[in-house]
Symmetry: C2
């Protein structure tokens, strides 16, 4: 059963006038950024700064990815009120928060954009995750990159956002199921986790794409969503790589045009569309 939810997504961009390098005014669009305080059964959990396009999914995905709520079925309502800058989540038991005080005390502020907060319980539970080893065809990686390039609409309008995509690669044409942009890449990842929860969508046949860097926290979130493959336009950190090795996440990074580097899980890659090296420019 789905929780009862508002549909309070905001328009992502605002028109403003800026002065360009020739001294002339230009109307341009900039990204929104709004505080949203998440409360569960009346108890404050965190304040997120968000673009605000998917506030209900963001709240759900945050609770899921931080492992603060394990079952969607335990959630009765998700109500966003932008006037009060809050999203109220109520559980059927109404007591979900009782054992969280301890969890909420130890927070790690991570390298992540936005929501760079890992509650210690997340780390404890993480090593329960067992990810399947999934074959990824190089041709599917290229098809995804081409499809994703058509999606990042807010970035093209306003910059200042990161995009994340949930992609299916197994069987047939690769497909982008969700594409979410937010001022923080972790918000975008969490909103996708919320959408997956609402649709009861498993992660094991998916690829998670992000425009952002592959730090430890994004690897953690991908594993929490049960997704075995992480694809990024940006680079990786050493701790992101170590976690990916421990958890069995295939890491494909610096993916732009025909170039990419596989930092972990290269044995899962099927090189079925290898470019002719003589025709490739040097990787950036």
């Amino acid at each position: 059963m789905q929780p009862r939810m508002t549909r309070a997504g905001l328009a992502p961009t605002h028109p403003v006038v800026a002065i360009d390098e020739t001294g002339r005014p230009r109307e341009v669009r900039i990204a929104g950024e709004s505080p949203l305080t998440l409360k569960v059964d009346g108890h404050e959990v965190v304040t997120l700064m968000t673009l605000g396009t998917h506030p209900e999914a963001l709240a759900l995905g945050y609770l899921r990815n931080q492992r603060l709520i394990d079952e969607l079925a335990s959630i009765a309502t998700v109500e966003v009120d932008w006037e009060r800058e809050t999203v109220q989540v109520s559980t059927f038991s109404g007591t979900g928060i009782a054992d969280w005080q301890e969890k909420l005390r130890h927070r790690t502020v991570t390298t992540g954009c936005a929501q760079g907060t890992v509650f210690s319980c997340t780390l404890d539970k993480l090593y329960d995750v067992r990810l399947p080893q999934v074959e990824v065809r190089q041709s599917a990686v290229y098809a995804l990159l081409a499809a994703i390039a058509r999606h990042n609409e807010i970035y093209r309008q306003a910059g200042a956002v990161h995009g994340c995509a949930l992609c299916r690669v197994a069987g047939g044409e690769p497909e982008i199921l969700h594409f979410v942009e937010d001022v923080g890449r972790h918000n975008a990842a969490d909103a996708i986790a919320g959408l997956m929860w609402l649709e009861d969508e498993p992660g094991d046949d998916k690829v998670f794409y992000t425009t952002g860097r592959l730090t430890s926290e994004i690897v953690m979130k991908t594993a929490t969503m049960g997704i075995p493959v992480l694809l990024s336009r940006s680079g990786i950190t050493h701790m992101g790589l170590e976690l990916a090795r421990d958890l069995g996440v295939t890491l494909i990074a610096r993916a732009k045009g025909r170039h990419f580097l596989v930092y972990n899980g290269a044995e899962n890659l099927v090189f079925d569309a290898t470019p002719d090296p003589r025709r490739l420019q040097a990787a950036p």
Copy 2:
């Protein structure tokens, strides 16, 4: 007087082998990312994920920018221990933490990369800041952008980092006083705040440059450092703009090559190097 400090900066990058798009192994470098738990007089404040090149300055700048400690002179020692993943700050009074418990309770997780945490006391004190209105010559902006391009060494090696620079523009040639890269742009900003504190360097004749986006939090930090001009390669958010207007921060963003957009404080710009619009390509 300066605090007694360790000098425990880490090497920023690690060599790893990745498989490229032709299926061949390549030795590449990736950015480090290490947890560092900040304790003051034995009390845990936060765990930061950092590249680790400037851990002492990072700890100091974090305390300064979060307005948790007001005077450098109250700090006796700053000791980094990577084995224990801690940086211990001790104050002369030894009781600095007493009134902080309340401050530490309300945290906002922001859009910032890393350290996206604003304690409510920061916001309360922020509106005390009065920034001078400083003239910025367009020729100085171009000179700074050219100088900065020579600095971001770790980004060129490994990606996955943001860079921040403290620049002097008043009088003579523009000069880069500090350039710090970190896996989170807020770490880089805080490390610079720490270095400014150690050198008793005022902010009012400076420009702060960042590769990252101008969100509310980076505008806040710049104002806290007393710096009236913020320059970025990336875009801005609406809340960043509103804060800049309230606090009087000149915002120059999307600055690449000859292009830039002034979102706030255009009256402080001196257009002394305006490119011929017929020779400019369309802004990206």
